[in-house]
């Protein structure tokens, strides 16, 4: 076996011992006919394809729609473990919102010298247009997807904060739906906390963040780049589940100081825009003038307080990988508490000493672009060839401040179904967090991504990862 024995196995402890959260499931599993499970696995794939739960792969000319492989063994988290996790996530998300408000207003954290000014001033994701402005209800990150990995019984690390437009929540919902359809008996046997309220909560959370000027029931719309976007399925799914219109930039315009959508009966005002379009493309008058995906003038409407944009523009300044390394300080600064969830040790290659260390130890480290996502442009040292290492070292020397490096974590494993039965594979976890002026709401569970190749640590769907249903037990 390739997987080193020192990985934390979330199901097994020792040879034949099953950890408590999995006990009930494992005894059910052992009583199943393997042939039946294999058949179920095929059924699940057919179900996903028919329903059109696909994603488009970037960088391929004929934007091909692909399925994210689904593994039918659930990832199980005990209620107790979840309580700690969710407390840690809530703390972090509150700190991020306080940080954003501070950065775009008084900048006390900079005055206090807790983080370097350069990190903000030279940050591409920092938007001067947001200075001196408070979004409706003071909420910046209405939707957050915090990436968490586990390395031991009690060791959870935050890997990324994803405070821009995190995706994947539709998979969390569809994975559960699929499991409920395939194995109803499991859910009467084991009490799993539900996730299906997410769309309703999202709607409520967005509505609660509507601008003050909005009189009656807020009109909510989801802004998508269009049907060729990799996450289009999710955009339409969420709009559908919330009962909100799914709009594209060309459906919208500024009418009488508000954002309005073109309907069959003329223009109709929108109060809250859940946008799945990046900052850069949001307003051609303010940002990228070539953008066809945004709405000319929306930033003026926003600053006038006549629309809520979720997430707020400029939240990227809180989740890039250089800021990440300061998160423990940021949490302490705004909450006065120690961070509940750990940060992974991070080397900022922009700093001389760190760069030297990273170059010397490249084969042991994971190197990421400060603004990268989706596993693109990243180097996994232990898995890289000599040539890949050398090429990457050149890139590092050319633009050191564009990169951070982290030690290779020994991610925990969860079993997946393979031909011979169960086999451990590395996983991460992305819980979904909703923030509104009324509070923070975290859906129990989230999206578990799994590296399907034995020994692999890359879980991104664009790089051959799969997903699993994630259970939080009622205990």
């Amino acid at each position: 076996m390739n997987t080193k024995p020192d990985h934390f196995d979330e199901m097994r402890m020792g040879d034949d011992q099953v950890r408590p959260p999995y006990a009930n499931y494992k005894s059910w599993f052992d009583g199943q006919d393997p042939g039946r499970l294999a058949k179920k696995s095929k059924e699940a794939e057919a179900f996903f394809r028919r329903t059109g739960i696909t994603f488009n792969v970037y960088g391929q000319m004929a934007a091909e729609e692909r399925l994210i492989p689904f593994d039918l063994v659930p990832r199980i988290i005990s209620g107790r473990e979840w309580t700690k996790l969710s407390r840690g996530i809530e703390q972090r998300v509150r700190a991020i919102n306080a940080f954003l408000h501070d950065i775009y207003n008084r900048q006390e954290i900079l005055r206090a010298g807790r983080i370097p000014i350069d990190l903000i001033a030279r940050n591409e994701a920092f938007l001067p247009q947001m200075m001196g402005f408070s979004p409706p209800g003071g909420v910046y990150t209405h939707i957050v997807g915090t990436d968490i990995v586990r390395t031991g019984e009690d060791d959870f690390f935050v890997l990324e904060d994803n405070a821009r437009t995190p995706s994947g929540v539709s998979y969390m919902l569809e994975n559960r739906e699929t499991m409920l359809q395939m194995f109803p008996e499991l859910f009467s046997r084991i009490k799993v906390r539900p996730v299906s309220d997410y769309p309703k909560n999202l709607r409520r959370s967005l509505a609660a963040s509507a601008p003050k000027s909005c009189g009656g029931k807020p009109v909510i719309a989801v802004l998508t780049p269009g049907i060729y976007n990799s996450a289009y399925y999710e955009h339409s799914f969420l709009a559908d589940q919330m009962g909100a219109e799914l709009v594209e930039g060309h459906d919208l315009r500024v009418v009488d100081g508000h954002i309005a959508m073109r309907t069959t009966r003329g223009y109709k005002q929108i109060d809250v825009l859940y946008r799945r379009v990046d900052d850069e493309f949001l307003d051609p008058l303010t940002f990228n003038p070539k953008s066809m995906l945004g709405v000319p003038g929306i930033m003026d409407v926003y600053r006038a307080g006549n629309i809520t944009i979720a997430n707020a523009p400029g939240t990227g300044v809180a989740d890039d990988k250089a800021i990440y390394s300061y998160m423990p300080d940021i949490i302490e600064f705004y909450t006065g508490e120690k961070a509940i969830l750990k940060n992974v040790e991070t080397f900022r290659c922009g700093e001389q000493d760190s760069l030297k260390y990273v170059l010397d130890n490249l084969a042991e480290l994971v190197v990421k672009e400060v603004h990268g996502s989706g596993g693109y442009g990243m180097l996994v040292g232990p898995a890289a060839s000599k040539k890949e290492l050398a090429d990457f070292a050149d890139k590092l020397r050319a633009r050191p401040s564009n990169y951070i490096a982290q030690p290779t974590l020994s991610l925990s494993t969860v079993p997946i179904m393979v031909k011979k039965g169960l086999a451990p594979r590395h996983v991460d976890l992305r819980p979904y967090v909703l923030v509104s002026p009324d509070g923070v709401d975290i859906t129990p569970g989230g999206l578990t991504r799994v590296a399907l190749t034995e020994g692999s640590l890359v879980v991104n769907s664009s790089q051959g990862g799969g997903t699993k249903d994630t259970w939080v037990l009622e205990d």
Binding site: R50, G52, D240, D251, R262, T263, T264
Partner: protein
């Protein structure tokens, strides 16, 4: 509803209707070529003309032969109206308007795209053709069934129906237009075998060859076939039936929205003109001219609907 969504629904159902009509057209052509000893290439040329693709076809192929025309109409990705292309367009539009569709309708369209993609992966052999065409028609029946069985009768449904019937009227009118000379009483030898072939092709292209025999007890005549296709309210592919359904659905929209537009008057006038006529007066005016006018009016109606309901910005 978003104007874009209305447009997406309209086109989604136009494309689905077109896929079915093209399959039917190929079937009629194939059948005639198999059973009759007339000049097949003329027949295939008129099939391509009816589908509105003869010019583009000629850019690619020199002669109108069965293999090439069938392939062009069913599989060719360069042909925007091939069954492959329109099924893809229908599915793209369905994705665009996903939130307006029930999951049954969406799944049916998505299934239909997957099935048709699979059926048309390779050139269709002659022996396979009947099965493939049958499958294509079956797919559209499933989508239609899901639409009728699960969708609310609201503006979403109205736009879907309007798209279907504007496309269908256009299709039937084109069939008549391409073969209008065979329907002229003056040029016909009643009951000659040549005429019988032509009439049969026409009736088969709208799946009405049996219906015609059931309804029309008299001998098959040019005037009888023309009347049936243009003026018979019982035939779901006749011009008058298609127009009546379009008007009906436009009026539902006017009721729901409490607003009438130019398209309403235009459509009602078109329907009135059809209802007032009998086949003799159409022949007096000139069948060709009548049909040409109808196709233009129908096209204009589509454009008015597009404008009145703000499909585009």
């Amino acid at each position: 509803m978003l104007g874009k969504t209305a447009g997406g629904l309209f086109w989604m159902f136009r494309f689905l209707e077109r896929a079915e009509n093209t399959a039917r057209l190929v079937e009629a052509g194939f059948r005639i070529a198999l059973t009759r000893s007339t000049d097949a290439s003329t027949e295939w040329e008129s099939v391509a003309t009816t589908a509105g693709v003869a010019t583009r076809y000629h850019e690619k192929h020199d002669t109108f032969n069965a293999t090439d025309v069938i392939d062009y109409l069913l599989r060719d990705k360069d042909n925007m109206s091939s069954v492959y292309s329109v099924t893809k367009s229908a599915r793209d539009n369905a994705r665009l308007v996903r939130t307006a569709l029930t999951s049954e309708v969406w799944t049916a369209v998505n299934d239909s795209w997957m099935t048709i993609q699979d059926l048309l992966k390779r050139p269709v052999k002659e022996t396979e053709l009947p099965r493939v065409l049958d499958s294509i028609r079956q797919q559209s029946a499933i989508v239609r069934g899901a639409l009728h069985g699960t969708m609310l009768r609201n503006d979403i449904y109205d736009f879907a129906r309007i798209g279907t019937f504007i496309e269908r009227a256009d299709n039937t009118a084109r069939i008549i237009d391409v073969k209008y000379y065979t329907l002229l009483p003056s040029s016909s030898f009643v009951g000659s075998s040549l005429d019988n072939v032509q009439w049969e092709t026409i009736l088969r292209s709208v799946s009405a060859h049996r219906a015609f025999r059931w309804l029309d007890e008299d001998e098959m005549t040019a005037a009888g076939v023309a009347r049936f296709l243009i003026l018979d309210r019982r035939l779901p592919r006749s011009l008058v039936f298609s127009m009546a359904t379009t008007v009906e659905n436009l009026n539902y929209l006017a009721d729901e929205y409490g607003e009438r537009h130019a398209c309403h008057d235009h459509a009602e006038l078109m329907l009135k003109k059809l209802k007032e006529r009998d086949i003799a007066s159409i022949f007096d005016e000139g069948l060709h001219e009548f049909i040409t006018n109808f196709i233009q009016d129908n096209y204009a109606l589509g454009q008015m609907i597009e404008r009145d309901y703000k499909f585009y910005g």
